[in-house]
């Protein structure tokens, strides 16, 4: 299972702070496509962290079982 944690306005779009996917292996690009089709995350600015390390969205990276992915948008309130 892959865990996805959502923050800021992306958590609102996903209507959840966190969810787990049944998949045990997929590329980062596939994962982002999947999430975009579910929650239209493409309209938000955000960074991606895999296991608490921020990675490039374009990086050829395999997400595997028990990995934790986080979508981090910038906040603007103050």
């Amino acid at each position: 299972m892959i865990t996805i944690n959502y923050f800021g306005n992306i958590a609102e779009a996903a209507q959840s702070d966190s969810e787990t996917l049944e998949q045990t292996s997929m590329s980062l690009a596939e994962l982002l496509d999947l999430l975009d089709s579910k929650y239209a995350i493409g309209k938000f600015p955000f960074q991606v962290a895999v296991n608490r390390k921020i990675v490039s969205k374009q990086q050829a990276l395999n997400i595997s079982d028990s990995d934790e992915v986080a979508l981090l948008p910038p906040f603007a309130g103050g």
Binding site: N5, N9, K43, F44, P45, A70, P73, A76, G77, G78
Partner: protein
């Protein structure tokens, strides 16, 4: 020193730490919810000099979270009300208030004289302007921001560490601020307190600074997570050898009689037409270096000074050794040219 006794006895602080606080200077940009949380703790801890920039006036809808203000403050400039309260907290703190909004025009003059910059703004545009200037001036920028019940904190540009724009490159996409998204006072309070805490740690040289990391605090769950930023090899190695750029006033540059290099983009106003000036926009400067001579003094200017710094770095790295950046910008240069022209006409 009696008033600071309880913090002086802490390991890692002592009287020398208290002296560091006394001789430090911090600029707080924004006197809203975050600023109201940051400021009293810096003042109470004994930070010697604190600047505060904000052009806003207090509104009734600010009072639930901007706790430096009261019902009598409504309609007053935030910086004025904040100064009154803070000066009463600590009469020895040197408070410098600027009732303006930070912009590309004033950013260099504002941040130049402070050791540390606290980003307590609620506006992405201003944040990018501040971040760019902090990069040029190599000033640490302590970032805090919130979205509903979540807060983000990080320290950018700290000892060659990453900048805000390297974490979140400028994108043309909507991000909500407090007015649009709603906010609870404690959310900005906790986030601002974390910023103040980073400021004190940096000044005192204690603990681990949140550089190269971003902390996200979920107030509803009491959950905090720290994410590490990727180290960009190219950027860090470039920074390590980055040349130092002398910054001079427009008057000095003008009187020195070198070449005035305008790096603004074509069409920016005011237009400078002067025998000793040439315009090569920053965006194409690297491809047009052969138009410049390494034998003459070059004084680079733009609209506010930030791009001039970047351009001067490019030139220094290309072995133009007699290059300096001009503080301020085109409007100051234009005034000097007009004075010069008038005096020549008089002589004729």
């Amino acid at each position: 020193m009696e008033r600071f006794q309880r913090q002086i006895i802490l390991p890692g602080i002592g009287t020398s730490g208290q002296q560091k606080l006394k001789s430090s200077s911090v600029l707080v940009v924004g006197a809203g919810g975050l600023g109201c949380a940051v400021l009293p703790y810096l003042v109470a801890a004994g930070v010697g000099r604190i600047g505060l920039v904000d052009g806003d006036r207090v509104e009734e809808s600010n009072l639930h979270r901007q706790v430096l203000y009261n019902e009598n403050s409504i309609g007053s400039l935030k910086v004025d009300s904040a100064q009154q309260v803070l000066q009463r907290m600590n009469s020895t703190t040197q408070l410098e208030i600027v009732p303006e909004y930070l912009s590309a025009e004033n950013v260099d003059n504002l941040i130049e004289h402070y050791d540390l910059i606290i980003d307590a703004t609620d506006n992405l545009e201003v944040r990018y302007t501040l971040d760019e200037a902090c990069c040029s001036w190599k000033k640490p920028m302590i970032y805090g921001s919130i979205f509903r019940f979540q807060g983000q904190v990080s320290v950018f540009n700290y000892k060659g560490g990453p900048s805000y724009s390297s974490l979140f490159p400028k994108e043309d996409k909507a991000v909500l601020n407090c007015e649009e998204a709603g906010v609870l006072g404690t959310t900005v309070g906790i986030t601002g307190m974390l910023q103040a805490n980073e400021a004190l740690k940096i000044i005192l040289g204690i603990g681990e600074v949140l550089s190269g990391k971003i902390l996200i605090y979920n107030m509803l769950k009491n959950d905090q997570q720290i994410f590490e930023l990727a180290i960009q090899e190219e950027q860090t190695s470039k920074k390590a050898t980055s040349p130092t750029i002398d910054l001079i006033s427009p008057e000095v540059a003008f009187e020195a009689g070198g070449l005035l290099l305008d790096v603004r983009e074509l069409g920016e106003k005011p237009v400078i037409a002067w025998e000793n000036s040439i315009q090569i926009p920053l965006s194409v400067l690297e491809h047009r270096l052969d138009e410049l001579s390494k034998k003459v003094k070059i004084y680079v200017f733009c609209q506010a000074g930030t791009r001039a710094m970047s351009a001067a770095k490019i030139l220094k790295e290309a072995d133009f050794l007699q290059v300096k950046a001009v503080r301020g910008g085109a409007s100051d240069i234009l005034k000097l040219i007009q004075i010069e022209v008038n005096s020549i006409e008089k002589q004729d």
